[in-house]
């Protein structure tokens, strides 16, 4: 990583396994959009504008249900709120960059880019890593490119398999794969359990407000367990 070019390639290389794992996610997202009656052009536009798989899937489901625009945008905000934590985590690494660079870094911020960048630079010395923005750009742009292609292919081709294959079940499975690494402590498990229970209990509430309610309850559950936990690992926090 002694030149921008080698840093860019190193980032792309390190991100490759995550990128490959995301291909089925992208194909499913694109196919779900087509199955919901969304024009492939709109599915691709949504993907470029938001670049956030879980939020895209939720928006597609809501669009298919005929939900109003404001509700869809709110649900997308709730699903993507986790990125605010990622934003806080990577901000110190890129604090001295220009506004243009910051916009690029923000746009490319994903679960994967966050995890990779923190693992690589989280406790490092800034002066020793002058090219880390290029590393991030390599990781982020490879993810971006492959994601957009996967969604476009999924949207244009669709999933031409019988309904008995239950491929829509891949959507919650994808979310399960996404959330597993986040369940690191007892407090995180409490957040997950609380949110799941509240979302089930609140499923019939109007305007998908159950999602927001469940998210709030889950965060509260996590904070409470963290507060009262005797587990030193949890109490110390990351």
């Amino acid at each position: 990583m002694d030149s921008p070019r080698s840093a860019f390639l190193a980032g792309a290389r390190d991100q490759a396994p995550g990128v490959i794992g995301n291909i089925p996610f992208g194909l499913i997202t694109g196919a779900a959009a087509t199955a919901a009656g969304l024009d492939p052009l709109l599915a691709i536009a949504m993907s470029i504008l938001t670049f956030a798989g879980a939020a895209q899937l939720v928006a597609i489901q809501l669009l298919a249900d005929g939900a109003p625009a404001l509700l869809i945008i709110t649900a997308v905000a709730v699903v993507n709120l986790r990125m605010m934590m990622y934003s806080a985590a990577v901000a110190p690494l890129f604090a001295t960059l220009s506004l243009r660079w910051k916009c690029v870094i923000g746009y490319l911020l994903t679960d994967h880019a966050f995890a990779l960048t923190l693992a690589r630079f989280g406790d490092g010395d800034a002066a020793a890593q002058p090219h880390r923005r290029w590393y991030y750009l390599g990781a982020g742009s490879l993810m971006w490119l492959v994601w957009q292609i996967s969604v476009a292919v999924g949207a244009l081709i669709g999933l031409k398999v019988p309904a008995s294959w239950s491929l829509e079940f891949l959507i919650p499975l994808m979310f399960i794969a996404l959330v597993a690494p986040a369940l690191a402590t007892r407090a995180h498990l409490a957040a997950a359990g609380t949110a799941a229970a509240v979302s089930l209990a609140a499923v019939s509430l109007p305007l998908k407000s159950g999602l927001l309610l469940a998210a709030l309850a889950g965060v509260l559950g996590g904070l409470l367990v963290e507060r009262f936990s005797r587990d030193p690992e949890v109490a110390a926090g990351p």
């Binding site: 969304l38 869809i72 986790r82 806080a88 499975l173 399960i176 597993a180 957040a191 159950g210």
Partner: protein, 113 residues
């Protein structure tokens, strides 16, 4: 929703997502973020995703099990739990998808046979 309304929705989705991503990146370094907010944000992913998963797994399929007045799809539940165990152990997306979908299809086949 007509086409231009859909476009406006998509642009709104993009704007709100970009704003969330930029939030702390744009924040001047001398502004201190309340610790409680930072701690709360650490639980958002762990809360939001299960809130999406639970109704999708339990309430969308065919009811095969009832608890009180609640009807569940037990096969989807078992398949999802198995997939969660694999996701936890392997951190592999492919293994998670294959286990979950495979388990569901095998159970369906076995139940219907």
């Amino acid at each position: 929703m007509n086409t231009w309304q859909t476009w406006l929705t998509l642009i709104g989705m993009g704007a709100v997502t970009f704003a969330i991503r930029m939030s702390f990146i744009l924040l001047p370094p001398d502004i201190r973020v309340p610790l409680l907010l930072k701690r709360a944000l650490a639980y958002v992913a762990a809360a939001v995703l299960p809130a999406l998963i639970a109704p999708d797994v339990l309430l969308r399929g065919t009811v095969t099990m009832t608890v009180g007045s609640w009807g569940f799809d037990a096969m989807r539940l078992f398949a999802a739990l198995l997939a969660a165990a694999v996701a936890w152990k392997t951190r592999s997306v492919f293994a998670t998808l294959a286990t979950g979908l495979g388990a569901l299809l095998v159970m369906r086949h076995w139940m219907l046979a």
